[in-house]
């Protein structure tokens, strides 16, 4: 049940909420016994989530009112509700935003419930660590995932290209590009989307070179020379026809439906392991998954197991104890686990994983195996990105790749602008 509100109503509503918040008026429903839950995702995720909330209501008598929105609409909604002092009791949180929300007390620490309502004794240590800000626990990871190259198995067969393995390198990527060019299947399908736009792919490439996007104190962790090298490499791929043209790539406006993979313009796209399931529902061709290419044979450490998303408690929730009980149910109840599967990533409690594993379909199994067997691809979890990382991604990384693609900027110019623009945004925040 999505509630869609148009822009004008949204503005009016948010203004009223801000006003109500400023006057210290608490809406009546904040006191009620039921829990409110807000999350982002599509219909498939909502169906699974509501399956679990129904189960919880049946077992405990507490009603859970859920609402879901698409990622882009979710953050404005959560921010306005928080600003109005009307945040839901349970909110879905992302690694990108958790520090910002925690520092502003917009989400509540969970430590007082650990050992009580929340039983986390065997919870994966790295996933628990990922939910901490300044030593306090602010988010319970709902699953682990990793970046992954999702590829069209059927197209690979048609083009006569051998399936990928986790050992593959950027040189192999070029060979696959050549092979797709030579095979010329499906009206000139290219090997890969234009990865120069992809923040995860850039980060993975930097990490393999011993660097990263951001340092722990929120500064850039790479230099202009790296950025220039990155754009130069992709310019070469574009010219050679290994990746899609800038014009085609510009058709991708964000939703899965407009990605080069689903549009059939490229055989591979960089994505996240838990999204294989969602992509497969949009496509007839069988899809597969493996790691991002290595910068050279044997070089690893680019990937990391990250909390795909968290549940956190709303900072102003009047039902924190109950909300914590719900969280515990969500991550540990065996029946709930069967409903949720690995759609939010690989569960972080070993007992839950055992319940889930035998119930999975083929694609979910692929995702589970991929994340469990990353081997030497796996590196340490990087610190949470700074608050303005989202803006740097949207207004620099995506736009600069495009500008080089259309020939409006040289790789050298784009590299310099990425550094200066990112520093400007970071200092402004």
């Amino acid at each position: 049940m999505t509630i869609r509100i148009d822009r004008r109503q949204f503005l009016m509503g948010s203004t009223a909420m801000v006003a109500a918040g400023a006057a210290g008026v608490m809406p009546a429903w904040a006191q009620s016994d039921s829990l409110r839950l807000l999350f982002w995702g599509g219909q498939a995720r909502a169906d699974r989530t509501y399956g679990v909330t129904d189960l919880y209501t049946k077992a405990n008598g507490t009603a859970v009112e859920g609402e879901f929105l698409a990622w882009n609409d979710y953050w404005p909604k959560l921010a306005t509700q928080t600003a109005g002092g009307n945040a839901p009791d349970v909110v879905q949180m992302d690694y990108r935003y958790i520090v910002e929300y925690a520092k502003r007390n917009a989400i509540a620490p969970l430590d007082e419930f650990v050992g009580g309502a929340l039983k986390l004794d065997s919870f994966d240590a790295d996933q628990l660590e990922g939910g901490k800000v300044d030593g306090k626990l602010y988010g319970i990871s709902l699953g682990a995932n990793s970046v992954a190259m999702i590829y069209n198995v059927a197209a690979f067969e048609e083009a006569g290209v051998a399936p990928l393995t986790n050992a593959w390198t950027y040189d192999d990527l070029m060979a696959v590009g050549e092979a797709f060019k030579a095979a010329n299947i499906r009206g000139g399908m290219k090997a890969i989307m234009d990865g120069s736009y992809s923040e995860p792919m850039l980060q993975n490439w930097l990490r393999q070179k011993g660097k990263d996007l951001y340092t722990a104190d929120g500064k850039l962790a790479f230099e202009e020379a790296d950025a220039v090298e990155w754009y130069t490499m992709w310019a070469k791929f574009r010219e050679a026809g290994y990746c899609v043209s800038a014009e085609d790539q510009a058709l991708d406006t964000g939703p899965l439906e407009t990605t080069m993979l689903v549009l059939g313009k490229a055989a591979m796209i960089p994505s996240n392991s838990n999204q294989l399931v969602a992509f497969q529902t949009l496509m007839q061709d069988k899809l597969g998954m493996n790691g991002f290419p290595r910068v050279a044979a044997g070089v690893g450490g680019g990937h990391y197991r990250k909390p795909s998303m968290f549940f956190s408690l709303g900072g102003t929730s009047a039902n924190k104890e109950k909300a914590a009980e719900f969280l515990n149910f969500f991550i540990s109840d065996p029946e709930a686990a069967k409903i949720l599967g690995v759609e939010r990533g690989i569960p972080c409690l070993p007992a839950t994983r055992e319940v889930v594993a035998p119930t999975l379909d083929e694609q979910s199994q692929v995702a589970l195996n991929f994340v469990s067997n990353l081997g030497d691809l796996l590196g340490p979890l990087p610190p949470p990105p700074p608050a303005s990382a989202g803006e740097i991604d949207a207004s620099l990384i995506r736009t600069l790749g495009q500008e080089v693609g259309f020939g409006a900027k040289t790789p050298e110019q784009a590299g310099a602008e990425l550094i200066s623009g990112a520093n400007d945004i970071l200092s402004r925040a």
């Binding site: 953050w75 085609d248 964000g254 995506r398």
Partner: protein, 316 residues
């Protein structure tokens, strides 16, 4: 209404004698009016004026939705004009859009209105059909349709392919993307057309007859009779359409998925404002952007009114 007009029609002395006090008179005469006005008034004060004052205050703060706003003086405005390339980029896009879409749309609307003014059969039907796009134009569905029509394998390129032309992907090419939005705007020529049509009906036929007798060509008749007599309508349409064009948001938002891409070629001013507010939570800065837009539109409108006396001919 009837009672009131009867009363006001009565001689002044008699009315004063029958009305006990000023307040009672106001109560009887005006209260019902204000009562009917009340729903609108509440909305106007609470939902338009209130938020406007709030946004003016917020434009001098660093409000980010989550923490309470801190006063930053004129910093937002200073940054906008001195250190924000995206502000200028979005201003260029919106200006380009206004400068091309408004005159082209008005010219097209006038041309169609003149065709329909010839007294053809089935006029009401044509009028309704041509008006239809105006009703649909701002909708999400049309923006999505537009995306399909101008895509690389869309309708336009299929038509071009029939005559052997390989069209580009219009919406995803930065050279053509803004033009697809201008064409979308021109296509919504319905409401100015209806107003032009009404204006054309007001021009006395005998002027044309006299001009024909004097041997004036059709073009000369258009330039010397139609246009001058139509200037008040042109003026009205130009103002309304210019304001609409400055405010244009939905098509660019849908067609570019809210990004203003390719390479910011469709980053309308309003879209940039939206990104700052709801993408990056810089409500203070976005409020400042909104006020600059309001100032800009006001200046444009004032300029049009001031120059109007040199080219708009009212029937004196």
């Amino acid at each position: 209404m009837t009672a009131r007009s009867l009363q006001s029609g009565a001689p002044a002395g008699e009315r004063a004698a029958t009305t006990p006090s000023l307040w009672a008179r106001i109560w009887h005469n005006d209260a019902p009016g204000y009562l009917f006005l009340l729903p609108w008034l509440i909305g106007f004060l609470g939902l338009t004026i209130g938020p406007m004052i709030t946004s003016f205050y917020l434009s001098f703060t660093d409000f980010d939705l989550l923490t309470s706003p801190d006063w930053v003086g004129a910093n937002n405005y200073i940054r906008m004009f001195s250190n924000d390339p995206k502000f200028w980029a979005s201003m260029r896009v919106t200006m380009f859009f206004v400068v091309f879409s408004v005159p082209l749309k008005l010219a097209f609307a006038l041309a169609v209105a003149m065709l329909l003014n010839r007294g053809i059969r089935g006029l009401p039907l044509y009028r309704a059909l041509f008006y239809l796009p105006s009703l649909l134009g701002a909708s999400v569905a049309i923006a999505i349709l537009w995306r399909q029509i101008f895509a690389s394998d869309g309708l336009i390129n299929k038509l071009l392919a029939m005559v052997g032309i390989m069209g580009p992907s219009w919406i995803s090419n930065p050279k053509t993307s803004l033009w697809t939005l201008i064409i979308l705007s021109i296509w919504q020529f319905g409401s100015p057309m209806i107003i032009f049509l009404a204006g054309l009906r007001q021009i006395p036929q005998d002027m044309y007859e006299a001009a024909s007798l004097d041997g004036a060509s059709k073009w000369r008749q258009f330039v010397k009779i139609t246009l001058p007599l139509l200037t008040p309508v042109v003026f009205f349409n130009a103002i309304i359409q210019t304001i609409e064009a400055f405010k244009s948001f939905t098509p660019a938002f849908i067609i570019s998925g809210g990004t203003g891409n390719p390479i910011n070629s469709t980053l309308f001013y309003t879209l940039y404002l939206y990104q700052e507010a709801f993408g990056f939570f810089r409500m203070g800065y976005a409020s400042a952007l909104a006020w600059v837009l309001l100032a800009l539109v006001s200046v444009f409108t004032a300029f049009s009114f001031l120059t109007s006396k040199y080219w708009v001919h009212y029937d004196e």
